[in-house]
Structure formats: structure tokens, C-alpha cells
């Protein structure tokens, strides 16, 4: 008899694989939303565990804001080559060029909100009926209430008052034409769980997650990477800092944190002691107490 040691990471992993296989079994045209961040990178590893040696029963979809960290894109392309799966790119720049969205102006301009439109267009174009995402319930209090199978109407809207009950580990993926389901296999993981899993599985990450020297400015009390995508003016002082990023989003809305953490072990001990939550480094959540709830109702991830 082999020794049987089924710890919390094994349990989270087994649950996520079960959810991914339910997506494969229940939907005609699923997709995996890949942002290049650690959560969607974790999803790719989980999909390998769920479906290898077969192909993934879904393509990866990247909603490209055009304001990416260069490191994320080169990571993405290398990873796609390694896993040999299909990548579909939805371009926010295209949505802007087509006049479907209008670029924001002013100091806090960001393409973060615009990507919802591109996402919905990409879903409609490819008729995806399920989109797998890496959101977690510990990120934010509106997310804490979202189901693992979260039904969106044809406008991509989440209606928190009309959520289906989700019982045991039975996921109801039945939908009407035009609707789609957002599926969150790592709902029950925390940020620390994801990092511990990445360490255990020896998963490679984009380099911006680790400490590096970068030119930054201070915006709303947070460090932002100096880039052409940020509307900077004479008041913005550019200086160099040893930083890393805790999430990988649009360059115009993802703040850096000061950090010397160059190894995963350093990051894990940093997070364990940290007094700023992961989404605390996202300016897009700061607008009001209900910011995330409002964005999700509008079709955000």
C-alpha cells in the first residue's frame, strides 16, 4: 500500500481538476481565459493534469489590452509553444479602432474597463458557452459570493440576486442560447495557496512577479511602472525602485510593491507577513466600495 497523504493543496487541486472536467463534459465550446497572470498560469497546469495526454478540450483566450508588460507576452508565447494548444487573441486596440469603445483620458486613464467589451465581442464571435477564469473568492467581497459556475446573460451581466444555488459538488451548466457561464475552478484557493502550489509544482512565472529594478512614478500613493501607457505630466517624477508585481494586469492600473523577493520562498514569506492585500494594488477597485460588484454586473471577468 502506498502511503496516503492528501493535504490541502491536493484537495484544492483535485477539486479544480474535477471542475475543469465538468466544463469539458457539459459544454460545446468552452474557452480558458488566459491573462498571463499566476492564477491563469495555475489553471493551465491544472488543465494539463485534467486532460493529458489528450489535448485541452478548449482554446486559450487572451484579452490583450495592448498595454501589457512585455514580459507577460513573451511568457505567453513561450508557454503556448510548450503546451501546443491553440491561442485566440481578443484585441482591445481593435475594439478602439472599430469605435466600439473610447479610450479614457486624464491621469487615471486605463484600458482595464474597456477590455470587458472586447471580451464580450470575443465570446460572441467564437460562440463560447463557457469561459474558465482564474478568479478567487478571497480576492474581493463581491467575488466571495460568486458561484463556481456563474451564469451570464447575453449582455455578459452577472446578477447577484439571481444566482443558482450550487450544492455539493454538482455544477449546473445548463444555459439558454446566447448565455454563457464563467467557471472559476480555483474559487476556493487563496493567494497563498496559489503561491504554495506554484512552488510545489515548480511552475515558471513571468519575471515581473519577482524583484527587479524599474523606473516608477507615484500615483494615488502607489508605485506605477513608468510607461508610455500612463498619462504622465511634469508633476510626475520618475525614479528607480526595487519592485515586483503581485498581479499582472494592464500596465496602467497595476501597481508595483517595493520588494526584495527574488525567489518564490521570499515571496511566500513576504505575502504571509504582508499587510496589503493583493487587490489593494489594483487602482480599479478603489473607486467605490461596490466597485467590483458593479464591474462584474457589467460583464467583467
Amino acid at each position: 500500500m502506498s502511503t496516503y497523504n492528501f493535504d490541502y493543496l491536493d484537495e484544492l487541486e483535485a477539486e479544480a481538476i474535477h471542475i475543469l472536467r465538468e466544463v469539458a463534459g457539459q459544454f460545446e465550446k468552452p474557452a480558458l481565459l488566459f491573462s498571463g497572470g499566476k492564477d491563469s498560469i495555475t489553471l493551465v497546469r491544472l488543465a494539463e493534469k485534467a486532460f493529458r495526454p489528450g489535448k485541452f478540450p478548449f482554446p486559450l483566450v487572451h484579452i490583450d489590452t495592448g498595454h501589457n508588460f512585455e514580459e507577460t507576452i513573451s511568457y505567453r508565447d513561450k508557454m503556448i509553444e510548450r503546451i501546443g494548444e491553440r491561442l485566440i487573441i481578443g484585441s482591445v486596440q481593435e475594439s478602439i479602432d472599430q469605435g466600439k469603445v473610447i479610450e479614457q483620458t486624464g491621469k487615471n486613464a486605463s484600458r482595464n474597463a474597456l477590455q470587458t467589451v472586447t471580451l464580450l465581442d470575443t465570446i460572441a464571435k467564437h460562440q463560447f458557452d463557457a469561459c474558465i477564469g482564474g478568479a478567487r473568492r478571497d480576492e474581493e467581497k463581491a467575488r466571495a459570493k460568486e458561484r463556481i459556475f456563474s451564469v451570464r446573460d447575453e449582455f455578459g451581466q452577472w446578477d447577484p440576486k439571481r444566482q443558482r444555488p450550487e450544492l455539493w459538488n454538482i455544477y449546473n451548466g445548463k444555459i439558454h442560447k446566447g448565455e454563457n457561464v464563467r467557471v472559476f475552478p480555483i474559487s476556493n484557493w487563496t493567494e497563498l495557496d496559489v503561491w504554495n502550489y506554484i512552488r510545489r509544482e515548480k511552475i515558471e512565472l513571468p519575471s515581473i512577479y519577482f524583484s527587479h529594478e524599474r523606473e516608477v512614478i507615484t500615483r494615488n500613493g502607489q508605485l506605477m511602472a513608468a510607461s508610455p501607457f500612463l498619462n504622465m505630466d511634469d508633476e510626475d517624477v520618475v525614479f528607480k525602485k526595487q519592485v515586483r508585481f503581485r498581479t499582472v494586469g494592464d500596465m496602467s492600473c497595476t501597481a508595483a510593491v517595493e520588494s526584495e523577493a527574488t525567489l518564490i520562498d521570499d515571496i511566500i514569506s513576504e505575502i504571509s507577513e504582508s499587510k496589503i492585500s493583493e487587490r489593494g494594488a489594483r487602482l480599479d477597485d478603489k473607486v467605490s466600495e461596490a466597485a467590483m460588484e458593479d464591474r462584474k454586473k457589467g460583464g467583467y471577468f
Binding site: M1, I17, R21, G25, K141, A144, N172, K174, T190, S277
Partner: protein, 416 residues
């Protein structure tokens, strides 16, 4: 380190959200920016301290009304355990949300307001705990600060609750006197209740040994997906992917595939780059069989020596979850593990008044109603009784007109 999933039952005023907020706060699970958002919020306790309940009341409507409408999941971790909390609303109109939160929990915390003792909703919450088969219960007698931390009050509530526990056949019941508002006996033992010799709530939760997974020895694996790479080098590869619900599967075990009844033997167990000899309950694996049998999603692989029940007529407890009442004349869909088939509710045996536990005859079933029914399925289901095997003994009902999940089913018997 393993995971403890628990849920909290209490009414609007029992201080349930405050209790959870207190657990998070006192275990340093609230980060600085969240705390800052809390402190800048307009909601404060009477004495000006921050209102911890805001931590779990996530939706705007809930903050406006100061109540919990939906299930909120919260996470925290100590050196001993990872915890997943389902914070569920306690009011009767949200019974279905409580059933939802309870369905994945291994332990229930039942909150009683020390000033009011065992009341109608305590009966209701305890009934739901017994219905959902949660074996471990902690009764937190809260607001002890409002009754001068009186041992007598605490003891008289225990006496009353024990009668209820007997009636509901609840076995593992523990009692802790707390004040969520003041933090007494939540993380640290309270100096204000030195008469209480037991553990604080957190220490109790860290230590209790619950069955995170079905301890049933009956080996069951519903097939979710068939892996067939169909490449040249893997031309004959056929792996059955699924999660072991209960029991274990070992190499060379004789298995039966249901519903076909075909037999085979386990040739290989795969988990990504590993080939373990045994697949245990809870693991998501891929199984290979020695014989070329026809298997697809919805079939179940079981140990040939311990077959489940198979029937198209099943007696079950039903909790109705939709605003549209049950219609016994129409067909619903039943989803049981990876299998979905048509079904009808052919008979309502009785309904339970969940405030008094009285059973009575009924011909209608509305939102939040709970009772015993007989269901008739188009295809036979391979199931176990809920009390023996929670995962293989439960199912959901789907209304194919709306696609909504309208009922939760717990199988109690096969009808001959």
C-alpha cells in the same frame, strides 16, 4: 495540514457575521487595506468600534439592509489548518441559501442568542444540519456579555438544546459560551468566563477531526470525460477521467461499470506524470481498464464486490429552491454526479414544518419547502443512500424551461 469546511447558522440578530468577522480579525486574516476600508465605512458599533460584520456582507443590497442575503465564502488559515467558511443567511426566506452553504460543510456552527435561548429558528437551523447530514456541531451561545457572562444562563440553554439534539439524532454536539462582539472565547479563552473549562472556538476548530471526504468504503468513480488522444503513438489510449467519490481503487481490482453492468479489471491508474497503485477518495485521476468496454460520461465505475443501488424509483428528501412551485405534472432534469436524465416527482409523501418538525400531508411544494417525495427517473441511477455516502446519495433538480437549479435531493431509499 488539511481543510475544514464549516458553515454558520444564526438569525439576522444573533451576530453571525460579527462572529466570522471576529474570527478573521483575531487570526490576523484582515489585511491593512481592507481594514482601512472598514474604518472609513460609515457603519460603526454603538461604542464606535468598527462593525466586523461588514467583512462578510459583500453585496451592496446587503450593506444597505444590514443583512446577509447570499452565501459568502471566507477563507483563513492558522498554522494547523486551512478554513473555508460558508456564511449563510439565517432568516426563513433564505432557507435554500442555508441548504446550499451546508451542503459542502463538514461542521456547523449554530448560534444562539444567550438572551433568547433556544427559539424557533434554532430548531430550523438544527433540522437543516441533520437533514444535510453534517455530523459535527458547535453550538455557540453568543452575546454572553449581555447576560453578565452567567454560567446559569449557559447551562439552562444547553439543557434545552440537548432535548432538541436527541430528537434530531444529532450525535457530536459541543457547546461554547462566546461574545463575538467582545471577542470572548473566540480565539483566546475568556477571563470573564473562568467557569468555562473548554476550549475557545478557534482551538476547537483547529483540533476537531472531521471527515473531509466520505469515509464510506464503497469505491465509486463517476466518469466525467474520456481521454482519447487519437494520435499515432497513443492510438489505443483510452483513459476514464473522474474523481473518486469514496473508497479506493487499486490495480487489478475487479470493477463493474454502471448502468451497463459490464465487468473489467483496473489495468492502470494515472495522475498526470505519476502511475499510483491506488486511487483514494477525493482524488481526480484517470483509470484504464483491461477490457475494451463501452464507457462514456455519466457512467460510474464501482467496485464489483460492493454495488450501489440501482433504481428508477427513489424516495428522497427534497428542498425546493425556486420561486416557481413544484409541478408534479411536468418533467424535470435530475443531475446526479456526471449523469443527467429526465425525471418526475411522482408523489409528495409529506412536508416538514421546519419550525416545529411536524410532518403533514401536502399537495404543493413552494420555495424553501422541505419534505419527502418519490421521484421517477427516465434512466436508472446508480446511487447510495445519503447517510451512507453523501456524494453518491445527492442530486439536484433542474427546470428545463428556465435551466435553474430548483431542488436539492437527498436519497433515502430505493422504492421496490
Amino acid at each position: 495540514m488539511n481543510i475544514l469546511k464549516f458553515f454558520t447558522a444564526g438569525s439576522v440578530d444573533d451576530g453571525k457575521s460579527t462572529l466570522i468577522g471576529r474570527l478573521l480579525y483575531d487570526t490576523d486574516s484582515i489585511l491593512a487595506d481592507q481594514l482601512e476600508a472598514l474604518q472609513s465605512s460609515n457603519r460603526k458599533n454603538d461604542d464606535g468600534t468598527i462593525d466586523l460584520a461588514i467583512l462578510t456582507d459583500g453585496l451592496r443590497a446587503e450593506r444597505e439592509q444590514g443583512i446577509t442575503i447570499d452565501v459568502a465564502y471566507k477563507y483563513f488559515q492558522t498554522e494547523k489548518r486551512k478554513f473555508i467558511i460558508a456564511d449563510t443567511p439565517g432568516h426563513i426566506q433564505y432557507t435554500r441559501n442555508m441548504v446550499t452553504g451546508a451542503s459542502t460543510a463538514n461542521l456547523a456552527i449554530i448560534l444562539i442568542d444567550a438572551r433568547n435561548g433556544v427559539v424557533e429558528q434554532t430548531i430550523r437551523h438544527s433540522y437543516l444540519v441533520s437533514l444535510l447530514g453534517i455530523k459535527h456541531i458547535v453550538v455557540c451561545i453568543n452575546k454572553m456579555d449581555m447576560v453578565d457572562y452567567s454560567e446559569n444562563v449557559y447551562n439552562s440553554i444547553i439543557d434545552k438544546y440537548q432535548i432538541l439534539a436527541q430528537q434530531l439524532k444529532l450525535v457530536e454536539v459541543n457547546y461554547i459560551p462566546v461574545s463575538a462582539l467582545k471577542g470572548d472565547n473566540i480565539v483566546q479563552n475568556s477571563e470573564r468566563m473562568d467557569w468555562y473549562k473548554g476550549e475557545s472556538l478557534l482551538h476547537f476548530l483547529e483540533k476537531i477531526d472531521t471527515d473531509n471526504l466520505d469515509k464510506s468504503q464503497l469505491a465509486r468513480m463517476p466518469v466525467q470525460w474520456v481521454i482519447r488522444p487519437q494520435t499515432e503513438e497513443l492510438h489505443d489510449y483510452r483513459g476514464y477521467a473522474g474523481r473518486v467519490l469514496s473508497g479506493t481503487f487499486s490495480l487489478n481490482d475487479k470493477v463493474t461499470i454502471l448502468p451497463s453492468g459490464a465487468s473489467s479489471t483496473i489495468e492502470k491508474i494515472e495522475f498526470f506524470d505519476q502511475n499510483p497503485d491506488v486511487a483514494h477518495a477525493g482524488q481526480s485521476v484517470t483509470i484504464h481498464l483491461k477490457d475494451d468496454v463501452d464507457i462514456s460520461r455519466g457512467d460510474t465505475i464501482v467496485n464489483a464486490a460492493a454495488l450501489p443501488q440501482e433504481s428508477k424509483l427513489i424516495e428522497a428528501d427534497l428542498c425546493w429552491m425556486d420561486a416557481r412551485a413544484l409541478d408534479t405534472s411536468i418533467m424535470y432534469l435530475i443531475q446526479h454526479n456526471s449523469k443527467t436524465t429526465k425525471c418526475k416527482i411522482s408523489e409528495i409523501l409529506h412536508k416538514v414544518d421546519i419550525n416545529t418538525l411536524e410532518k403533514h400531508a401536502a399537495d404543493e411544494f413552494k420555495l424553501n419547502d422541505i419534505g419527502r417525495v418519490i421521484l421517477k427517473t427516465a434512466d436508472a441511477l446508480a446511487f447510495d443512500l445519503y447517510d451512507d455516502n453523501r456524494t453518491n446519495g445527492s442530486a439536484i433538480l433542474i427546470d428545463s424551461r428556465t435551466n435553474l437549479t430548483v431542488g436539492a435531493l437527498m436519497f433515502r431509499a430505493a422504492v421496490e
